[in-house]
């Protein structure tokens, strides 16, 4: 396989997320619903995506902070499960995602006679985030260089290209697949391997290791590893 001369090099980028208080808090699901209707969309981004940058030690049980808080702090396991299954990439934008969250909570409010309260020091704190994106010194001109560069990336760079990209790009793809797509069918198998990687179930460290393992396996099997 010869390099595609028309294809642009892949420039690795990195990011930092700054967290800001919104001043909004909730102590039960009624308050959670009310605050969700008014909080900025940046906050919904943060509680679905941004908190993925935080260090995790286990495969996350819930994929957004709302579900985790409802489960752990309110012990409402039914609502926790319903919120936990939401895939934010199913929604065109954060407003539609907000609408879905509110709908699910309202459905639960219809079902329960009384709402559970969290401890005062365990309220849900609505945080919003702003992201700064910047270049790194790393770039590659051919996919076969991926296995060498991926292990050197910061976890925030992995977050930017593999998770944040799903918010930025059409069809909820990631930056690697979007780039490989430029090679036509040549790397279809690798793209499929990456598509099968569910980022929700992997802490970032493990996600990086898995990306390295998948790309290495692919290029070794095709004898294309750059040394």
């Amino acid at each position: 396989m010869e390099p595609n001369e028309n294809q642009q090099p892949f420039l690795f980028r990195d990011c930092v997320l700054s967290a800001f208080s919104t001043g909004l808090r909730a102590q039960n699901i009624r308050e959670l619903r009310d605050k969700l209707t008014v909080v900025s969309a940046d906050s919904i981004y943060y509680h679905f995506w941004g908190s993925r940058l935080a260090t995790r030690f286990e495969h996350p049980e819930y994929h957004n902070d709302f579900a985790g808080w409802v489960h752990h702090s309110l012990h409402d396991h039914i609502l926790g499960e319903r919120l936990g299954i939401i895939d934010p990439t199913d929604f065109e934008d954060l407003e539609r995602l907000r609408h879905e969250l509110v709908e699910i909570i309202e459905q639960r409010l219809d079902e329960v006679e009384t709402v559970a309260w969290s401890k005062p020091d365990d309220q849900f704190q609505f945080v919003r985030s702003r992201i700064i994106v910047f270049d790194t010194p790393h770039h590659i001109s051919h996919p076969s260089e991926l296995p060498q560069v991926l292990p050197t990336l910061s976890l925030s760079s992995v977050f930017y290209h593999f998770i944040d990209a799903r918010m930025r790009l059409p069809e909820s793809t990631d930056d690697f697949r979007a780039w490989l797509h430029g090679y036509g069918e040549e790397f279809r198998e690798l793209m499929d391997m990456l598509a099968n990687l569910d980022p929700y179930f992997l802490p970032l460290l493990e996600l990086r290791q898995t990306l390295v393992a998948k790309t290495t396996a692919f290029f070794e099997s095709h004898s294309l590893v750059t040394v």
């Binding site: 990195d14 001043g23 704190q125 700064i132 994106v133 270049d135 925030s156």
Partner: protein, 424 residues
Amino acid sequence: MEESVVSQPDVALAEYERIVGSEVIEQLFQLAKPLRGKRIVHVNSTRTGGGVAEILTKMVPFTRALGIDASWEVIAGRNEFYQCTKSFHNALQGNHVTIPTAQLKVFEEVNAINAELLRPVLNDADVVIIHDPQPAPLITQFPNRRGRWIWRCHIDVSKPYRHVWQYLRVFISKYDASVFSLAAFAQPMPHPVCLIAPSIDPLSAKNAELSAEEINGIHRQLGLDPARRTILQVSRFDRFKDPVGVVEAYRLAKRFAPDLQLILAGGGATDDPEGAAVLNEVHTAAAEDPDIHVLELPADAHRTINALQRTADIVLQKSTREGFGLTVTEALWKGKPVIGGNTGGIRLQVIDHHTGFLVNTPEGAAHRIRYLLHHRDKAEEMGRKGREFVRVNFLLTRHLCDYLSLILLLESGDSNRVELRRIA
């Protein structure tokens, strides 16, 4: 301090790079590039002693090594000023404190005097970061200020005494942004309220690696037996730290681990009436058990604390109320599993079953002590995870990264996504 690092910037950076990795240093350089040549001035009220001074001692030269013109100024005041700011500190943590009007007048006068002394520096600064309430009114003396002013709060103000908070809020609301350590501490403001967790410096006396010889020497000096299994709590003798609960937990665990010893290490309590009372309660609870070592250490006993943390098998922070809990951070950094009270910032650091255990009672603490003494492999695994957790989240480098990000965001308007292009 600043000068020595500025003249040899690579020395300090190389040390940090060894600890945090080159990608973290690279991130800092990338964030610093658009800010090169800018003047950032930190202002607080003490050059030595306390967590703020400890952080600024390293953060300022580090910032300069990234090509930013950072400096650190300290305001000075007379006795009534410090009485007043001590009252502020207590009130912001929730104590009902009455501050005489005369003291408030002194507070504002001292700030006005310091404003004149600092006028040339602060007038020219691109960014001024004011730490804690002591210098907060300075901003009122600079109506034509050129740069952006940020107020950084290092105190737990989750439930402040409202009268005092309302007084201080008048000054703080004039800033361009404020920074709190946790979302739970943040107070509503008419400007952006950023959340930046505190940090420890891995190269400070309290956290740097120590030789086995030094550690053994410190143990000999304190009459401790390093060969025996040890549980440790480092904190002031304060009811919220529950030292008596720690003694109870130790007694319950010792029945199953007769060689166990407990060290309670804290600051002297002679100038704090409540601290002295708590210390007496601890001595009573200890009941002359020779395996309970209550150590009253001076405020600068950093290497001693460091040595105690390094030799402990398990570190406890069984607080019933806690701000952030930097002693937890320090213990995790030394690879120790931490049994912590299920409260405040401890919950951010003690990730249950991963970096330690969260507990609610002395019985719960005793149960976890027994578990960790028995499962040494689990304790070691928690220690490894805890150190990595701190390396990523709670070191000085992350703290500086957050400050640089905030400054860049303040300069970038309201956009929620800021793109920096590589500058050669």
